[in-house]
């Protein structure tokens, strides 16, 4: 189970396992980086306030304090529950979330301006809602770290997760439009004023399910079928799960009219399948399915055709469907390389500037330099997740970490690609940056799981210091067992690490 590369992938990692000096936990680095993130976010806020000529309001002070409290609590929770977790993941998230809050606040100011100009009542402060959602996200984050003390226990609930995930995914599609439909996509469950997008949570539950399922059935998928063009094709009957997943994606697309989620689910599944089987043929077959699905969807559904036409030439229907993307491009172009400066642009001209289009808002005011920096932060987050996947010793952990990291990667690609006219626009939010409660809360849970896996990957094989070494001559003969990772199981390794 333990892949031999896992130690080689992290130089120095073997040190701790050999019972040498105590392995650095990385918590100090994490704290310093969190302070750094807080400084950047505070600086961004100061710029916004200066450029908008605002004075510090009590509400904003509370939001700022709440953000710092969230960072502190998250850090303490990691110290308590996952002391060896990767030190770069949480600061990346903190920076993204903080920049998101600043930009949402900045758009709040623009909305207030507009309302004042048009003599309308002052709109709700979105940043205040977002910080509340951040707090909820933190609660879930701590709960996951606390309750899931070993990620492998999740594998046991694989099918439960799959079932719940499916129900959550299907629910908005089955509910009447009055409850579930917002702007043409049936993604919501809205009761009263509040609403959640269950799909965001379904995404994580389904990744757990896929990972658990694939680990269980790995041999089945690896069974060779015929060879074709140098690839081993899977047997036809093994295609069934792929077909089911494909059907699921198409179902999401048809019933909920959500191009983005559909693409996301299918992409994640393909990548997990590839990681589990190491066979490129799955990817190619999957991509073939995708192309066929895309062609059929284009032929059958008006909303897909509209998306594609707007993508090809947003300016041909500038007044209507192309308006949003055209405004986003105007914003990005006006920002140029250096941006207008935080608080000095007009990102509010783009509809949904604070949620789906927060990328263009950031691009207008921070420019290409700012966007490239944020992309690098995302890249750090994703690669640290994949790094944990490489380093962790169990297959389920590997698949889960890969799935979760790739989910973030694919989601930012689909969203940013859509906003910048690289690919057709889909209605998804940017993890941690965009305004939106469900996305934020679900992604905090996602990060908690990544931290849990990275903790397992980096922790010494035992929580306690190694027992005083018994001189080898005095030691009784014992059966050397393969070590089991984690705090819950496994015999104490001997001074040699108990490695087979």
């Amino acid at each position: 189970m333990a892949a031999p590369e896992s130690t080689a992938a992290r130089p120095g990692g073997a040190n701790g396992r050999e019972g040498g000096p105590v392995l650095p936990t990385g918590r100090t680095i994490e704290l310093l980086l969190l302070v750094f993130a807080a400084v950047i976010v505070t600086g961004a806020l100061v710029l916004v306030e200066a450029n908008q000529e605002q004075e510090l309001t009590p509400t904003l002070l509370y939001v700022g304090l709440a953000y710092l409290v969230v960072l502190t609590l998250a850090h303490l929770a990691v110290r308590r529950f996952a002391p060896y977790a990767d030190p770069l993941i949480l600061p990346s998230v903190a920076l993204l979330n903080g920049l998101g809050l600043v930009m949402i606040h900045r758009l709040d100011l623009a909305d207030q301006d507009r309302a004042a100009l048009l003599g309308q009542p002052v709109p709700d402060s979105l940043v205040f809602k977002q910080i509340l959602w951040t707090a909820v996200g933190l609660a879930l984050f701590i709960a996951v770290l606390w309750r899931v003390s070993d990620h492998r226990t999740l594998a046991r609930y694989g099918f439960t997760c799959g079932l719940v995930g499916l129900v959550l995914l299907a629910l908005p599609g089955l509910l009447p439009s009055s409850i579930s439909e917002v702007n043409g996509a049936k993604l919501w469950i809205r009761v009263g004023g509040a609403g959640i997008q269950p799909g965001e949570f379904a995404k994580i539950l389904l990744i757990i399910f896929f990972a658990a399922f694939l680990v269980q059935k790995r041999d089945l998928f690896s069974t060779a079928g015929r060879r074709f063009l140098g690839m081993e094709l899977p047997r036809a009957r093994d295609l069934a799960p792929l077909l089911v997943a494909w059907g699921l994606s198409v179902g999401v697309l048809v019933v909920e009219r959500d191009l983005g989620s559909s693409l996301l689910f299918f992409g994640i599944l393909l990548v997990l399948l590839y990681a589990a089987t190491e066979r490129v043929s799955w990817m190619l077959i999957g991509l073939g399915f995708f192309v066929i699905g895309a062609l059929i969807a284009y032929q059958l559904f008006g909303h897909v055709q509209v998306r594609v036409q707007v993508w090809l030439d947003p300016f041909s229907d500038y007044e209507n469907r192309g308006y949003q993307i055209a405004q986003a491009l105007f914003g990005l172009g006006t920002g140029g390389v250096g941006g207008t400066g935080l608080g000095a642009g007009r990102p509010d001209l783009v509809p949904f500037a604070e949620s789906d289009f927060i990328w263009s808002s950031l691009g207008e005011e921070l420019g290409l330099i700012g966007l490239a920096s944020i992309l690098v932060v995302y890249l750090v987050l994703i690669t640290r997740g994949l790094r944990s996947a490489l380093a962790v010793r169990d297959s389920f952990g590997k698949l889960l970490a890969t799935g979760l990291s790739f989910a973030v990667a694919l989601q930012i690609f689909v969203v940013i690609g859509g906003v910048t006219k690289l690919i057709p626009l889909t209605g998804l939010t940017l993890p941690f940056l965009s305004y939106g409660g469900s996305s934020l809360v679900a992604n905090y849970a996602l990060v908690a799981m990544l931290l849990r896996i990275s903790n397992a990957a980096r922790a010494p094989l035992t929580r306690r210091p190694a027992a005083p070494a018994v001189p080898i001559a005095d030691a009784g003969t014992e059966l050397v067992q393969r070590p089991a990772v984690g705090p819950t199981t496994g015999p104490l390794p001997g001074p040699t690490g108990g490695r087979p």
């Binding site: 000529e53 105007f330 172009g333 006006t334 007009r346 966007l371 992309l375 910048t420």
Partner: protein, 489 residues
Amino acid sequence: MNTPIRRIAIAVMALILLLLGNLTYVQVVKAGDYRDDPRNQRVLLAEYARKRGQISADGQVLAQSVETDDRLKYQRQYTDGPAYSPLTGYYSVIYSSSGIERYADPVLNGSDDRLFARRLSDLITGRDPSGGNVVLTVKPSVQERAYEEMSKKGYEGAVVALQPKTGEILAMVSTPSFDPNPLASHSSGTQQQAWKADNNADPATLPNRAIDQTFPPGSTFKLVDTAAALQNGYTPDSQLTAAPNITLTGTNTTLENYAGTQCGTGQTASLREALARSCNTAFAQLGGELGADKIRAQADAFGIGRSDLSIPMPVTASGVGDLPDTAAVQQSAIGQRDVRLTPLQNAMIVASIANGGQTMAPHLIKEVQGPNLDVIDTTEPDRLGRSMPAGVASTLTDLMLGSEARTSGGGKITGVQIASKTGTAEHGTDPKNTPPHAWYVAFAPANDPQVAVAVLVENGGDRALEATGGSVAAPIGRAVIAEALRGGQ
């Protein structure tokens, strides 16, 4: 399982690189196109947050931005709004801008190239960039007098006063006018209310009649005929018909003199007498004899038909219309049919005569100043072209003195010789029963012209059907001339 994970990591990096590449394309390669797209409001909106320059004339501030405590930072204020609004225009958050506010916008908002060095130093010193100032050629006393004369009787119309030697616009009035202050309000309710009121106003208040609209010039167009005639073998003593009415060549349509009178006492009348008495039949004959080409050539020489004129506001093109046959030329020669002039164009004609046949480009901006009121650019007088030789202009001036001598109406200035021409232009579908437009074009002093004016009072002013250029428009023109000369030009 680690090999595929590494490949996935590489694929993720490739996706991010793809995003970066596309972002570079959007924000660097295509950035200029997107930024300058006319549908992109961002650049425009950024201007509202900057301190805009002021518009002034002869030391008097006409429009300025004052700091406010609301979020738009600066509020535009206009002193004596309605009198100057045809010049300044308005500057509205919702409804864009007009007039100098619009056409000198690069200077006022600070983006003009002439302010580049200044902007650079703002950038280095971290000073808030602010706009340059525009100084108008207008004489406030003349402008206000002209506005008062027009508005006290509730006249619709326009007055333009030019300095004939330079083309400087000394006054440009359009009545009834609007107040730009409520349109610049930071309360959208006030803006919307004012905009609605201005747009529904009857007669209209928003257009600048002096440059935005054209009117039949009536008998003032006879100056064009005369200028053409004097350059084509006619002399002031050339004899023309004195008949009270004539039938247009090739038609049954008759054309008659004002009130159906004989032109003077004889069977024929000299060109001098015909102009002084403004005899329609004589000029119809003259026009017919000169022919379409010569009339049109002379009109073009005065600038009629130019569509590229800007002061810097664009001036609607004047025109003589189609002249397919002699009858059309005969009708057009008395400034009827399809001849249409802006009041500014009519002022340019007399200014050209006053300046010895040299037409100067009319302009409204005297100087461009930096934010510190230091002059960074001065408008030099620009020649548009020659309408006639100096000798002809001198003869024509002499004939116009004769016209002024026969023109009634009050306001004559003792000791000042005015050269003028009046016009009473019919218009509408029922010309005989529609109050005519009253015109008065003049310059003074005749021997050393300092001011040229065109006055238009639409629809008869307060005299209705009885109105003539002399009775309605001339007193205003003379008052404006008197005011301009009083300034000690």
